[in-house]
């Protein structure tokens, strides 16, 4: 039968998440600009990871499942990067870039 997990395991996980959530809440009262945003992201990601590993038992499930989860996150990150790059790298004020310069007369 599968290895039984101890109740302590869950309690530690819960405590960790409560700490992370509280830290995140506290952080929101400080005005740290971009660093603050980055830290918020980090703390949120950490709490999600703990829930996934402990309460959703990813630690116990097959390694293949890890590949599934990592793939999902990877492709989401890909979507985010290229979408954000688009918006950030456009001409000023988020306007669309002018069309490429090919306005030659068509034959």
């Amino acid at each position: 039968m599968e290895r039984k997990i101890s109740a302590l395991h869950y309690l530690i996980g819960y405590a960790a998440i409560v700490v992370l959530v509280s830290l995140n809440l506290g952080l929101s009262f400080l005005d740290l600009g971009a660093t603050g945003l980055f830290l918020t992201g980090l703390l949120s990601a950490a709490s999600v990871i703990v829930v996934v590993l402990v309460f959703m038992h990813l630690l116990e499930h097959a390694p293949t499942v890890l590949l599934v989860v990592v793939s999902g996150v990877f492709f989401l990150a890909l979507l985010a990067s290229l979408m954000i790059l688009d918006v950030v790298a456009r001409a000023p004020e988020g306007q669309p870039s002018p069309p490429p310069d090919t306005m030659q007369e068509r034959g």
């Binding site: 293949t64 890909l78 979507l79 790059l85 918006v87 669309p96 069309p99 490429p100 090919t102």
Partner: protein
Amino acid sequence: MNHDETAERMAPDELDYLRVERGLWSWLTTTDHKRVGILFLISTTIALFLGGMYAMLLRAELVQPARDLFDAAQYNRIFTLHGVIMVFLFMIPAIPSGFGNFLLPIMIGAKDVAFPRLNLASWYIYLFGAVWIFVSLFGGGIDTGWTFYTPYSTTSPSAVLPATIGVFIVGFASITTGLNLIVTVHTMRTKGMRWHDMPLFVWSIYATSVIQILATPVLAMAILLVAVDKALTIGIFDPAVGGDPVLFQHLFWFYSHPAVYIMILPAMAVISEIVCTFSRKNPASYRAIAYSSIGIAFTGFLAWGHHMFVAGIATIDAAIFGVLSMFVALFSAIKVFTWVATLYRGSIRFDTPLFYFFGFLFLFVFGGMTGVAVATQSLDVHWHDTYFVVAHFHFIMVGGTISAFLGALHYWLPKMFGRMYNEKAGFFGATAVFIGFFLTFFPQFLLGNAGMPRRYYSYPEQYQPLNMLSTGGAWLLGIAILFSVVNLLVALKWGRKASANPWNSRGYEWTTRSPPPKHNFVGTPVFNRGCYEYALNEDEADARVTTR
């Protein structure tokens, strides 16, 4: 020892899956993956003809430059419905949910898929989604193009809401099939079968399923946002409230580009099987084909922005997408070369499925190369939204996928129904499909390059001769597909009874009876030889397949 004896040994005296239970109710409540596969094949083929009907209508309008049969508004609805029905109700589900469901468990020696009831549910989800699309159809249809671009889709007076709901729902049928097949491959391979013992068909369907899982949810969100905007004017992409319509395109194409690999990978799955059987040879490189499937699935996700080169995205973004788009072609090319190398020095058997492969080979390569062409940003500026692009994707979707689909129907008809089709008629149909296809779509490359825009119901006079040729070709293509399908239907009733393995294939699905019994094999099949191992003689090959 002949094949029928092997089949009897693998699945002794049992009623086959068609006869074990009879009546409509037994079909509507089945959990047998083979029956679910057939249900999907029937529904998707009906969708094929419905989508095809819309194609014939729009080609009819394009015979003459001026408006003759339809005005602009009606024409927009016709090409939109053609696209929506073809893409979502045929191209995406037909091979994976049809042939994938039927064959994959048998090919890995399993009794069924991992979740048989979920499998049946996926068919009902598909039907429910199709119903919503029909509601839209009867409500006057939609005129947004199958791509639903905002802000037109959220402001169009046409029946966008039921259509988007339908597409959303059908997406879940796709996800559930993918989920089921992935779990099946991971957990239900028969004793002794490692990943590298699996038929190549399974690798490609597996890769397809991975794309279905990872890409479809993003479409679900994109289309949900359009539906929600239509229903409640929430306007996330509405410029009037600061929304950016291009962001819809990002989300839409993040799915829809990988989606085209959902459409071609299963076709490639079929082709791998046909090539090996009809050349009686091992694939020139098993790993090349297997890993290329994964390669296509992965690189397919990197390319979506190439649909948006002229949509106003940042130049650096477009440049990145242009480069990334090239990688998919590498893996497709590896497959093509490997298939051709497999044929070399094979013992070629010229039957209908192989003729569909020949058609596939020529048309897919054409389509693929023009794909690389339009992925080149500087060229796409000229070709975007012209008939050049239309020709490119039809070469792949029809020339590629539909050729493979028809080839699969002919190849596996004897396995599924125990009947053989008329070979002369099959050959005739395959040839007519190829000629009809080429006449329809090759002129469209020329038209597009000459500047004819897509989705227009009228055009300048100088484009007429090529348009007439294209419409003529479309008629031939339509009749040829109809003829081929009728030939198969005739075979169901009156065809010669097929033996267990009429093609003399070494594939695992051919070791059981035709049609197979409900649980495919009796006990656990053990395959002590490869599924492409033609080097062994017949008796040895048969003897190595046992059951326990």
